[in-house]
Symmetry: C2
Subunit: 164 residues, 2 copies
Amino acid sequence: MTNKRDGEIALPFDPAAESGPSVAFIGKIRSPWSPGNAPGNVKGARARLAEEGGACFIELDPRYADGLLGLEPGRQIIVLYWMDQGRRDLIVQTPRHTDGPRGVFSLRSPVRPNPIAMSTVEITSVDGTRIGIDAIDCFDGTPVVDIKPWIATVDQPVAQQPKG
Amino acid sequence: MTNKRDGEIALPFDPAAESGPSVAFIGKIRSPWSPGNAPGNVKGARARLAEEGGACFIELDPRYADGLLGLEPGRQIIVLYWMDQGRRDLIVQTPRHTDGPRGVFSLRSPVRPNPIAMSTVEITSVDGTRIGIDAIDCFDGTPVVDIKPWIATVDQPVAQQPKG
């Protein structure tokens, strides 16, 4: 794990080897995207799907099916997924879209100590444990770790929240 | 793990025992809240702090300090934290604020297969690895698993996003 671009800094240890609790994978993302051919974020994914067609959905592990009670098409959800293809030790990175090195906690890079990515998406269908979503940016097969309802008073900056 | 309210359903297995990757704790939350005396969400936390005073911050593990490069007061961040005090197997729950049982994926309950909670908060100060935040709802000492910059095009429902 020593490949770095100029200005990048790797931790002297691998966060993957820390003795924390285990993550349970609750399903997987199905998407048209594969390594080398994926949008950079969910906005890019929406644009690609509008141009090229294709569909995105969550394939929930059937053991967790009861957890869907109350979720319906039209609902805004936050999907948390585990970006399992990358290293976890790159604490300072130099993405192409920034003008210099940035700490990982000021970036949405999938390369991070806990490679949890998240996007806010709309449910388009629910068919058993197959949940259609309007878009997502990750590779086909990416493990899902959580689904949460989006709530303005928790997920929006205070200045943008509805009053009252 | 068999205590349930009416209508609640527990999984026949414990997600904590699934063989997924390990979570690395990158720091801990400091807050005025303890079990039995905590607000229900970050909005409630803001109200309590305004009335009672008190401060919330993130104490980052110094090994991850370089990851803060680029984060400044005024920035909106999403904090992901691990709600380690509860069970992980309650797949259908009956919270007091709903009119019946709900699947965990339609709730923000801290009791969930992966007990990751998240709130969008504002950075109020950065002093070394101590990051002041305007509020948070979890108990003092709660482990932190990630900090991300809030980005409108990823984190807001499409209908609310700025055009263009």
